[in-house]
Symmetry: C2
Subunit: 185 residues, 2 copies
């Protein structure tokens, strides 16, 4: 089980770190000892809008991963029109499970991954999401099987726990939720 | 208003990014346009246990900041006995508002900042916290005025919103909570 986390300049870091925290516990708490991830970017580091810098792995192709997760950020408003970025994202077309947080769904949409699906995003981006999917929903998590989208920023934690359940079951979700000290459902 | 975020190798990144997300919105949403922060470390970068690397500002002294926030992580179990680190943390003694997430309270405690206070930490660290404070509480946030401690990992978001309210009032908290799309209280 190899996950690709798609990072880029201008991401919202909590969109990323919420699911990141839930998912790495699949390995450390031995529910999926073989779980691994790669911080995939077109560059060797990414910055958020406030200068916080995270080192990344320059990744030519997103082919071959079992899970793809795309966080959001204000940069998505322009990035969805960036042909080179979207071409790169499309190399993940065969990935069997794709997910996004917040305006990350605009990127999944621009890559064509939401066609025929219901999806969600940050409430401020519902209108921008509409052209890319069949139906915009206001649910916190919209699970359409091969594509799962989550709402605004903090829903990243809920997405992480949702993916934990899909990948490793309810017992894993309960234990990881407790370890994260997350009392909310 | 200048905040020092204390980072170190072996931190839990969500302990940091939860409050980080709430607090930077004080500036971007213009509730405290002068709000700024520094990623303070003894090194120029820090890594979590999974290799995620964040660039930091090597900071000789923590003197002169208005707010200090310390995230947790498994490394705190040894770091609290690291004389050089604790001496460094003590340079923040005059900071009027100190806060921690998760086992970050063990570091505040080892620096002597919890003496006479009630405090909290991750439920797995209650016993380790006891010698450093007057009373260990199981509340999600324990606000003792100049020292605020939060419980486990995900309570970082709640701490961030609590500090937003203290620094900028309830209207700011409500607006930032909405922008974070965080429905929980």
């Amino acid at each position: 089980m190899r996950a690709a986390y798609v990072l880029y300049n201008g991401l919202t870091v909590l969109d990323f770190i919420g699911f990141y925290d839930a998912l790495y516990r699949l390995r450390t708490m031995r529910f999926l000892p073989e779980f691994s991830f790669q911080l995939c970017a077109q560059t060797s580091q990414v910055q958020d809008e406030h200068g916080l810098t995270i080192l990344t792995t320059p990744t030519e192709t997103l082919r071959g991963f079992d899970l793809l997760v795309v966080p959001g950020g204000f940069a998505t408003r322009t990035l969805r029109h960036d042909a080179a970025f979207i071409r790169w994202l499309r190399t993940a077309a065969d990935c069997p499970l794709k997910a996004s947080v917040c305006s990350g769904s605009l990127l999944l949409g621009a890559a064509g991954f939401l066609t025929g699906c219901a999806a969600t995003t940050h409430p401020s981006a519902y209108e921008q999401l509409r052209p890319y999917c069949q139906e915009v929903r206001t649910d916190r998590i919209v699970d359409e099987g091969p594509v799962v989208t989550a709402r605004g920023v903090s829903s990243s934690l809920d997405l992480g726990l949702h993916l934990v359940r899909r990948l490793a079951g309810e017992e894993a979700q309960t234990a990881i939720r407790r370890q994260m000290d997350y009392p909310y459902q």
